[in-house]
């Protein structure tokens, strides 16, 4: 299976790339030896993800899912962010090749990790 047009669009024109210098939630998942590392930077204000950016080392799919995930949760609540799944991200992109579903579809994991760490640190249940 080839990449969908939407995957290619996110890959060629990734949204929300880079770092947030004053991020208050950061998480990194993956491993260079597996070919994918995704790092998410979040600026959380109250219950809201005010801003989100990413850095990704990885294939086209890894970059596209990172970009897509940031679009899905920017301006959303922490609860909504935690409800976003890997499968939803893939569905939003019109699907991913089977081999990419596990190795490259890591952005939701990074997002959840960042949000959960933030909630724990701030005593949010």
């Amino acid at each position: 299976m080839n990449y969908t047009e939407k995957v290619m669009d996110h890959f060629m024109n990734p949204r929300n790339v880079g770092k947030i210098e004053d991020a208050n939630a950061i998480a990194e998942v993956g491993n260079p030896s597996c070919g994918d590392v995704i790092k998410m930077y979040l600026k959380i204000n109250g219950d809201m993800i005010e801003d989100i950016k990413f850095q990704t080392f990885g294939c086209g799919a890894a970059i596209a899912v990172s970009s897509q995930t940031t679009e899905m949760v920017k301006g959303k609540s922490l609860k909504e962010a935690l409800e976003v799944t890997r499968d939803q991200v893939a569905d939003e992109l019109g699907g991913l090749p089977a081999v990419k579903m596990h190795c490259s579809n890591l952005a939701a994991d990074a997002l959840h990790q960042a949000v959960k760490t933030y909630m724990k640190e701030h005593g949010i249940a």
Binding site: Y3, S33, G35, F57, G58, C59, G60, V99, C103
Partner: protein, 396 residues
Amino acid sequence: MQRIYLDYNATTPVRAEVRDAVLPFLNELFGNPSSRHFEGRQVKTKIEAARDQVAKAIDADPERIVFNAGATEGNVTVLRGYQVNYKEKKGRNHIIISAVEHPCIYDTAKKMAGEGYEVTIVPVNGDGDLDLAFLKSAIKDTTGLISVMTVNNETGVIYPIKEIAKIAHEKGILFHTDAAQAIGKMPFSVKDIDADFVTLSGHKCYAPKGVGALYIKKGKRLDPLLTGGHQENNRRAGTENVVGMVALGKALELATAEMSADRERIGKIRDEFERRVLAEVPHARRNGGAGNRLYTTSNISFRFVEGEAIQLKLDYHGIAVSTGSACSSGTLDPSHVVMAMCGGDEEEAHSSIRFSFGKYSKMEEVDYVVGRIKEVIAQLRSFSPLYDKFMNSKPK
């Protein structure tokens, strides 16, 4: 958009002269070469002429050439069929291969290891050169076959096959070389090398996909994979791929005639390309080739970015390349070849791109390609967490 094809090691276009040579066989020359009537005899004559052309290109006698479906078939036939040469058959079940063989050898040998064969894989160093001392010390009484490729498909590294054939023969062991990337591109004499079996492929040298040939030295045999027909002198059953045979013959005849001019011209393009990339792109590293290397290939790792992403971006800019990264191959492992050379550094293996040049490559394209590479690598690094980490760890 104008395309720039830099993936000649993956496959080559069919040359116009080759296409023209086969057209009659898609029209009036349709006979079955096994038939005794006029239609059959006419075609039989032509495939024997093609066999002569192939034989001449590798300095072999024509009756030693078996046409087949390509390098995979040739290589698997050798691995699966060599034991027929030994009286003590099952006792010669030890095979030695290199760590950088094509998957059709590497994976088949690994599969055979689970079927009662013993397989030793000879490592390469960071330049891609084979550890010959290791190879010699791996030889034992049960060794039946040593198989080392002539030229590596991913790096272009040339292996000392004449020397390895000699080592094998001193111990009474058969020697095979997969020469798919070499034949038609560099001088190749089966007699000089003294190989027992040689594999070659049509679509790597401007003939169509689906045809290849196997050289079997006089006095040696291989148990055929395909049985049930007398074709190819009982060495490969099935009605002949006439179009493929005629094409392969023509392609190798042309390649032999044009070899030295091609070598000069293509080598200059590859060298200029590589010099510029290594000089102009920071943190780029060449994989292999401090020693002897074929003039067609340049394999480069671009640290901090992943190969498939580079490949996709270059494709968008009209440039076709390939990558040793796992992400393009449908498996989860990066290239075992580049891994073997990166000393197990998987990140660098994931970052490797193979540029391979050929007949229709032009020096004028180098500037555009280098420009796009610089742009694409800079873009991808701009949001690579590995690059960010690296830049921040440097003393200011």
